[in-house]
């Protein structure tokens, strides 16, 4: 299970959100599981087509995900995943 950390911006909307272990073989599966645990959270991370939103970044370790369209990046049990607000404009 990957270990997931979140931007504090998401905690504003989901006060029960805490970092921790989340199952998923890919980033997409992980986001889907997060949305199951916190209904609505997925909509802040991806748009209605499943594409990563423009102002959101997901890192696996220190690398940003390569596939922002379908979030197919594979996760290992020891992966550290960071869901962060993207640096935007400026």
């Amino acid at each position: 299970m990957a270990h997931v950390s979140f931007t504090r911006h998401l905690v504003q909307f989901f006060p029960k959100l805490v970092e921790g272990e989340v199952p998923g073989a890919t980033v997409r599966e992980l986001v889907s599981e997060l949305n199951r645990r916190h209904p609505g959270l997925g909509g802040y991370i991806t748009d209605e087509t499943g594409r990563l939103r423009r102002h959101v970044n997901i890192f696996v370790g220190e690398e940003p995900v390569g596939d922002r369209v379908t979030l197919s990046d594979a996760l290992a049990p020891e992966s550290r995943v960071f869901i962060l607000q993207a640096l935007s404009g400026g």
Binding site: S5, T7, H9, H55, N57, F59, G61, E62, R80, F82, L84, Q85, A86, L87, S88, G89, G90
Partner: protein, 215 residues
Amino acid sequence: MAYGEFVAGIHSVVIDPRDSNHMYVAVSCAGVAETRDGGRTWASCNKGMTNDYLPNAEVEWGHDPHFVTLCPGAPDHLWQQNHSGIFYSDNGAKTWRKVSRDDVGVHFGFPIATDDSDGRTAWVVPAGGDSARMSIGGGMFVARTRDGGETWQAFRKGLPQEHSYDIVYRHALDQRGGRLCLGTTTGNVYVSEDAGESWQCVGNNFPPVHSVRFS
């Protein structure tokens, strides 16, 4: 809402008044670099910098300066308004220290101005944040420190305190001899004759102001 440009760019070229071969440049999404040989070789100057949008907050590269400047009379004192706060160096950018105060609204913004001779003095025009690029709570203010960022004073006299959607671009604040001028993207220009403590409106109907400089 517009979020500005999505490409990195050099916005600050800071030349040491003691030695023109010594200069700093600041690049959005990268950080500050320094040359001592007129640009032939460069080194990073981002020690002490932190960010809040990467897994590693203290990476060497990947910081987002919005504007960097130095004090002409004390050139080892550099000031940086950054995406992730305000940073100050009193040792020629060997190390930086975060000096912003998010709890009192002095944190996010674009421009920063220094004093002519006192390296510990600086002015900023704070905005709400990266997702609220306008005056905080609809009221514009200028914040000044005289102690290297230990404390900040907010000045509002003469600036709009209701329905202000103004934001000041990185090159649109300047200081010379205690006189300051700022211009906003909504076409408002203000001048202060008392080191930022009170302001007079010069005009409200300019086009978006990109740069203000005393010549």
